[in-house]
Symmetry: C2
Subunit: 433 residues, 2 copies
Amino acid sequence: MTNIRDMAVSTRKAAARLGVLGTEDRNQALEAVAQALESSAADIVAANEADREAAKTDGISTALLARLKMDEAKLRGEIAGVRSVKALPDPVGKVDITRELDEGLVLTRVSCPLGVIAVIFEARPDAAIQIASLALKSGNGVILKGGREALRSCQAIVEAIHRGLRGTAVDPEAVLLLSTREESTELLALDDYVDLVIPRGSNALVRFVQQNTRIPVLGHADGICHLYVDRAADLRMAVDVAVDSKTQYPAACNAIETLLVHEGIAADYLPAAAKALAQKGVSLRADASSRAILDAVKDAVVEEATEDDWRTEYGDLILAVRVVDSLEQAMEHIDSFGSRHTDAIVTEDSSAAKTFLAGVDAAGVYHNCSTRFADGFRYGFGAEVGISTQKMPPRGPVGLEGLVTYRYQLVGSGQVVTDYSGPDGRSFTHRDL
Amino acid sequence: MTNIRDMAVSTRKAAARLGVLGTEDRNQALEAVAQALESSAADIVAANEADREAAKTDGISTALLARLKMDEAKLRGEIAGVRSVKALPDPVGKVDITRELDEGLVLTRVSCPLGVIAVIFEARPDAAIQIASLALKSGNGVILKGGREALRSCQAIVEAIHRGLRGTAVDPEAVLLLSTREESTELLALDDYVDLVIPRGSNALVRFVQQNTRIPVLGHADGICHLYVDRAADLRMAVDVAVDSKTQYPAACNAIETLLVHEGIAADYLPAAAKALAQKGVSLRADASSRAILDAVKDAVVEEATEDDWRTEYGDLILAVRVVDSLEQAMEHIDSFGSRHTDAIVTEDSSAAKTFLAGVDAAGVYHNCSTRFADGFRYGFGAEVGISTQKMPPRGPVGLEGLVTYRYQLVGSGQVVTDYSGPDGRSFTHRDL
């Protein structure tokens, strides 16, 4: 029986060969994968039906069952996605520094693949297709570990991918599928062979991965986003932005969980916002000052907020509300309870907006628009590898650039450092070319 | 007694205020620090003498004692360094994406400070000055933890820095000095308050930090660099580059530890290289094929190499030597035993050079020059925050850009995602401005 380490070594070797291929070879491989997925559509859909039957028997939740679903229409969309990834600019081989250090000694910094990426995902078999295409595009090997409930679907998908790759310059071993939970634990220990792990699923999954591996993790456990309605807000805009930020897709990490309202506008704003939110089925968890205003609002569903509410990602039609006495108090609240994901201000006061944008420490800081824009596709990245709430780059919605790193190439004609040392040493020119 | 967490919170608050200051305010603070260090020169030098006296009594090594030394000349150099950092371009506020997502909805990506940086260093008190200036320049708070043997020096330095900052826009609490080993352990647990930790010292220190914190670490534990002398190498150049890469500063992480020689050139190259290396006092650890050639070389000091030698960072005038049968074998050796720091090829064959530069997975890949060039100053970064052998950026020698991250700012006029959703939704323009 092959163990995970041996498999990872094979993936690593295949990835090294993939990493030096040109743009055309990688794009051809993506086209071959798209075609193989097309010709295997019936098998994939059948495998997925079997997965869903089994999942139903196991009593899986409706939400999970919906995510598990891969019918022909869904698959067609995913195959179109493979071709979109193919059409993206090549993230590999981009040069961002070209500098003459001295005559005939030239430094370049060029982007290159990370090596091997591992993705651990729950139900969604579409993740296998998306991540495999992003990995191939960026010259990386990929180890896929899907949830048990999606196993048949993932196997059918990866079989098709392998078949597609067979006629191309890419060794099929560059894409590896793991299936058991034990393999997943072993995978997290392979920090010598895996360069990045991307957990895709619940906060609990992300946190588990973050706490159980030395491999760098791209992901975010929490999305506690805020909307601050400033004293100088346009009331109508502030209502619209709050409703969109909370209700357009409440389960998303970029939906708001807390609404902060300046005391100078609260009496005007809160009743209007509460009515609009109530129409969308949102219930509120309000602090004492907000409740004093909200209790008079017909239809509003209001409960008392505790400090726990400031720390809670509802992921649902629930919104915490707090009245603050100043912009500064709003920013302090965000600093104490936010998850540095995306926070927005609505105001017509450009100085307040400037203070907020400069001072709130989050991957996304927004002025007069919905937090729901925090997304790689909406940002124009063409693809989203993940969203990161860590401080170091890549941060926020991460496109293909999150799957590449860089390398310094220095090309000379025999230069040695001794000649540049001491009081009579040569000087560097440091001239950007 | 104040505990570390409370102190870190104060540093974090001071850092938040520092982070929104403009270029001028931060540069003025650096000038004030330089002047305060000048006027405290006598105190600092005296404190350093006391440290060195105590260290001698404790029987500290000569090498460590040399690093501990901060006389007036050394201090003058460090103060000049503060002013050089001041003169560097501001790393904060650089915009690298400006994109219209739709009319009146503009995304910018702008560089910003990380927040709080911690530096753990051994003997060298100069590290305190260097890192504090880099932190102030980049708008970050900094927690300094120096070695016990440098405590008096560090205290005198940080007192001067605090005094300098008092008349400026920067709160002196932005620079915090810790002194005990217990504090250092507590510091590593503060992943909620510290955004980056930079260990500066022995491999053992770096490894300890890497293995005992959840804070991102900028550093490198090993520097196992290789020089591969290709079949088509210019012999004279290959000798010069080997001598410089090994002997110009053998303790440096970018000095080579292993010399790989193509079998087609070994009989000509090795005797010449061995002679030149022997003149510099280098002893060799050679594999069987190299020994067959080297045994005939007068003056060469040659011992038998074992596989352990391929994994050893001597940091000394010792060099492992292996004959390989091909470029591919050289690259496999580097892949198996290298630390992904800096590896070089000497060859006149441009195709071999291209294969090496594209295929060797290291932060620095060099052609026809010494590995000793791997350094932030030589690269023209003006400063070196550290060297990283991790895969993810920042990688290799890291300048000020390693102390900043970025933030996405999105400024609109009430846009909501609902309007961009569904079959009739608005389209994004994604126009770079």
